[in-house]
Amino acid sequence: MEGLKYIGSRILQSFFALFCIITITFFLVRLAPGSPLSDEKAIPPHLLAQMNEKYGLDKSIPVQYVRYLGLLSRGDLGPSFANKGFTVKEVIAQSWPVSAIIGFLGLGIALVIGIPVGVFAASKRNTNTDYFLMGVAMLGICLPTFVIGPLLGLLFGLKLDWFDVAGWENSTAWLLASLTLGLYYAAYIARLTRGSMLDVLSQDYIRTARAKGVGPLKILFKHAFRGGITPVVAYLGPALAGLIGGSFVVEQIFGLPGLGQHFIKAAVNRDLLLINGTVTVFAILIIAMNFIVDLVQAWLDPRRKLTTS
């Protein structure tokens, strides 16, 4: 019962947060200088006035806001200014699967590489193997995706010719994109796992287990792993949001038609409604991920209770 109440209040909180995000974005975007209608070929003032009127941009910002909420309540996200003929909804529907796939696969790669490396390094604490692995991980964290991406492209795409370097349909570039995204988070997860595993391994109950003669592998996996993995799970929410949302650079590098590209380009183009739309989608994603992670954490760690306190 306590749990249900907690879930209910969290859902309410989430909706409130979402509403705040939509509102703040709306006003911030409109306060930014520049207009979606300005372009290199200067638009004569009479046309600009026409267009502003047509798109409702001549109204005061609060009026525009009320109108936008009206649109939203009908499930309509409005038209995209920069992609004429497409609605914001269509743009998002076309692009989110791309970001979701490279994001989830990237996360998979990050976990598959990061956790074992972290556990292994923890078990070889303060040996050269440990230093080497953590050194590599540090390097991975420090190298930004716009360096790793082209390097992977050059190595696997051009030198070895295993993957395509760009494109989505009928192309293998998305694997490289996932790898690029995954490696960065793998490095982070490896360090996180190692740290928390060391923490757990120094606990009394591990010493007790060891004293009782339990083998090192069993200690590592049966006794320490579940506790050691908890911080990683807590990190999954923000990580996945970051993977999907932060994929702009990677999508650019590998020419993928994902949501991340729209997220940035809409801001550059001052494509007002598309900015609102993409921000809303990312906000929902991040809020949902945090929510799910909280539930999973409670399940993993019985000491955490589903309470509002």
Binding site: I43, P45, P150, D161, G255, G258
Partner: protein, 672 residues
């Protein structure tokens, strides 16, 4: 590996079958990953290797995308950015007009190897009416031209298109290209005052006394009504202003009677059911289904060049109006399945940030000339990605080459690198209204201390030409004056004439650029040259995002701003008309009555020699007053696969895709 199965329907790859069997294999390797994950790290490594190997084998077995595409005669073209629209009346960028040229065909079309030559398009032949002094042109349309749905293309389609792009409600960024037509500007800007007041003068309120009123829009104004101008207000709003004159901002000197007189004239005009568009129809008529007559404001011997521009393409009325209002830019007529064009190709597929696919139009009149089966326009807007895609055999043609890679291509792969003259100029705008650049001698000092050759040689490195003037040289017959050559001694004299003993006395000013590494490098070079040659120390560089930058330029709120201009057609007019006092792209505040007069006179002359002479005088004046600081004339630098045939260098880079062919080259380019 399931995305491999989402292969495009039209051009399936030959090795799809073998891929299917690989698919199963790689899925196995995924599973293996999961089993071995915790128990044994080497198992993990092996799993990843198997996965990579499987994927590797798949792509190894496939021929390069371009080889396959060459066989299928599908041209894979990098096209810069994602198109803003597929409606010829809404686009303005170079990449967008490339797609337009594939989907639509105008009266006159581009020659495959000479941008100043003309070939018959929808018009079989054309001529200026004798005695009209190049002010009336008749186009005779071919009878076999068809839209991609089979409808015939008639002169009425062109009339409809020109009325649409000029419609005051149509948000066309490029409508001013049609101001060549009689009444084009009046029609497009809805200049009610021309008819309601100027054409029916009242001796009590002569035009001179009321001409300061904001008839047209003023987007700088605080007042919402003034933003639209009187011409932008409907009858109801006009009546409200009539009732309360203070709701509109008038020139201070104007009496209330004069204001009332103006409003009365406007209200009477609308109440009589009159409109500008009815009374001043744009100068284009369909004499019959296959004869189109254009009447021009001023003589234009180069008119056939003008109508090659994308703004002069026809559109299909029934299609546009099936999906909504004629002037609504957001309707779905531009989408695959709905889109109807009259070009050699028709739209089959469009995915944002991925591709625009066009395939042969079965109704196109000149089928036998068209060699390609289709074109995929790829919006690879990251130039490094595009270059890698070219090396990986994913595109036949790149939109651009990163500047720092040109040298390496020149050394190692000369056969794919193209460096061509391009009718465009890179320059800096100067604020002539305020700041140090208000002084003409100071502007001269700045101009003569820019070492253009050094910039071209060591900064841009793309084979550009130092710009000694504004209009780029071309074969069209106009010989630019070439006045601005680097001369530090002369520059110092001008600095003295501007009242500065040394560069140290010059107050701080800023070079404004839009955010880009390339622009930054040039600005830094110029900054350094001004320091070295003039001793000016307080020059800052500031950058703004594109949209903000555009707004700053429009507001003339800068000192010196980076700019560029690409020709719309092959004639000096496309460059020189920018500096007309009233041109919306002037953006320097520079206004010179003598210059405006020369341009107007030149427009009234039909003999090219005399015309060029007048334009030359105008450009000399421009280069004497220098509201701009020329830097270099553009080149187009790009990569082209040897499979592409009939691709010739063009001054405007407007390639006519119906002449392009693909044929496997004997020696494919060596992979690095």
């Amino acid at each position: 590996m399931k995305f491999r199965s989402t292969i495009q329907q039209s051009d399936k790859l030959a090795c799809q079958r073998s891929e299917d069997s690989r698919e199963a294999e790689s899925e196995d390797s995924f599973k293996m990953n999961h089993h071995g994950m915790f128990a044994n790290p080497t198992g993990l490594v092996r799993g990843v290797l198997v996965l990579a190997l499987a994927a590797g084998l798949v792509s190894c077995e496939r021929p390069d995308r371009v080889e396959e595409a060459t066989k299928n005669k599908i041209f894979l073209a990098g096209n810069g950015a994602e198109p803003k629209a597929l409606d010829p009346h809404l686009v303005s960028s170079v990449g967008d007009s490339n797609i337009m040229r594939a989907l639509f065909e105008g009266l006159v079309i581009n020659h495959p190897s000479d941008d100043s030559a003309h070939l018959p398009g929808v018009a079989e032949r054309w001529e200026p009416t004798t005695g009209s002094d190049y002010k009336e042109w008749t186009f005779h349309l071919r009878k076999d031209a068809k839209w991609s749905n089979g409808d015939p293309v008639t002169a009425r389609d062109f009339v409809y298109a020109y009325h649409r792009i000029l419609d005051p409600k149509m948000p066309s960024p490029y409508a001013s290209m049609l101001y060549f037509l009689v009444n084009g500007e009046i029609y497009n800007k809805n200049l009610v005052e021309e008819i309601a007041i100027k054409a029916a003068p009242n001796p009590e309120y002569p035009w001179e006394s009321i001409k300061e009123v904001e008839f047209g829009a003023n987007d700088q104004s605080e007042n919402n009504l003034n933003k639209k101008g009187l011409n932008g207000l409907d009858l109801e709003t006009l009546k409200q202003v009539q009732a309360d004159l203070s709701t509109y901002e008038w020139p201070e000197v104007l009496s209330d009677e004069a204001k009332q007189y103006i409003l009365d004239a406007y209200v009477a005009f609308y109440e009589a059911g009159r409109t500008v568009q009815k009374e001043r129809p744009a100068g284009v008529v369909a004499k019959d289904d296959y004869t189109l007559v254009c009447n021009l404001e001023d003589p234009a011997p180069f008119f056939p060049d003008v109508v090659k521009h994308t703004t002069w393409l026809p559109v299909h009325q029934a299609t546009i109006e099936k999906y909504g209002d004629m002037t609504d830019p957001f309707t779905e007529w531009q989408k695959p399945g709905n889109h109807v064009g009259n070009g050699a190709f028709q739209l089959t597929d469009w995915r944002i940030n991925a591709y625009v696919r066009v395939r042969k139009n079965p109704y196109y009149w000149d089928q036998k000339t068209v060699k390609l089966n289709g074109i995929d326009f790829l919006p690879l807007d990251n130039q490094f990605t595009e270059e890698r895609a070219f090396r990986d055999g994913l595109v036949h043609y790149t939109y651009i080459v990163p500047g720092n890679m040109i040298e390496s291509y020149r050394k190692n792969q000369r056969e794919v690198l193209r460096v061509e003259t391009y009718a465009g100029v890179y320059f800096f705008r100067c604020n002539t209204l305020k700041g140090p650049t208000k002084d003409v001698n100071f502007r001269r000092a700045l101009a003569y201390s820019i070492d253009q050759e050094t910039i071209v040689k060591y900064v841009t490195m793309g084979g550009q030409m130092p710009a000694y003037g504004f209009v780029p040289p071309s074969d069209a017959g106009y010989k630019p004056p070439n006045k601005i050559k680097f001369d530090p001694a002369k520059a110092k004299e001008f600095l003295k004439a501007a009242g500065y003993e040394s560069g140290k006395d010059v107050p701080e000013f800023t070079i404004l650029i839009n955010t880009s590494e390339a622009h930054k490098a040039i600005a830094e070079a110029v900054q350094d040259m001004w320091k070295t040659h003039l001793g000016i120390e307080k020059v800052k560089i500031s950058n703004q995002e594109w949209k903000v930058f555009q707004q700053t330029l429009k507001d003339i709120d800068y000192d010196v701003a980076r700019s560029g201009w690409i020709a719309d057609y092959v004639d000096p007019n496309t460059f020189l008309s920018l500096w007309n006092t009233t041109d919306s792209n002037n953006e320097t505040g520079w206004s010179n009555p003598e210059y405006d007069r020369l341009l107007k006179e030149a427009a009234g002359v039909s003999d090219p020699a005399i015309r060029y002479k007048k334009l030359l005088t105008a450009e000399s004046l421009l280069l004497d007053q220098l509201p701009i600081l020329p830097v270099y004339w553009y080149t187009r630098v790009y990569l082209l696969h040897p499979d592409v045939k009939n691709w010739q260098p063009l001054l405007l880079d407007n390639h006519n895709y119906k002449f392009i062919d693909l044929e496997a080259a004997d020696t494919p380019p060596v992979k690095p």
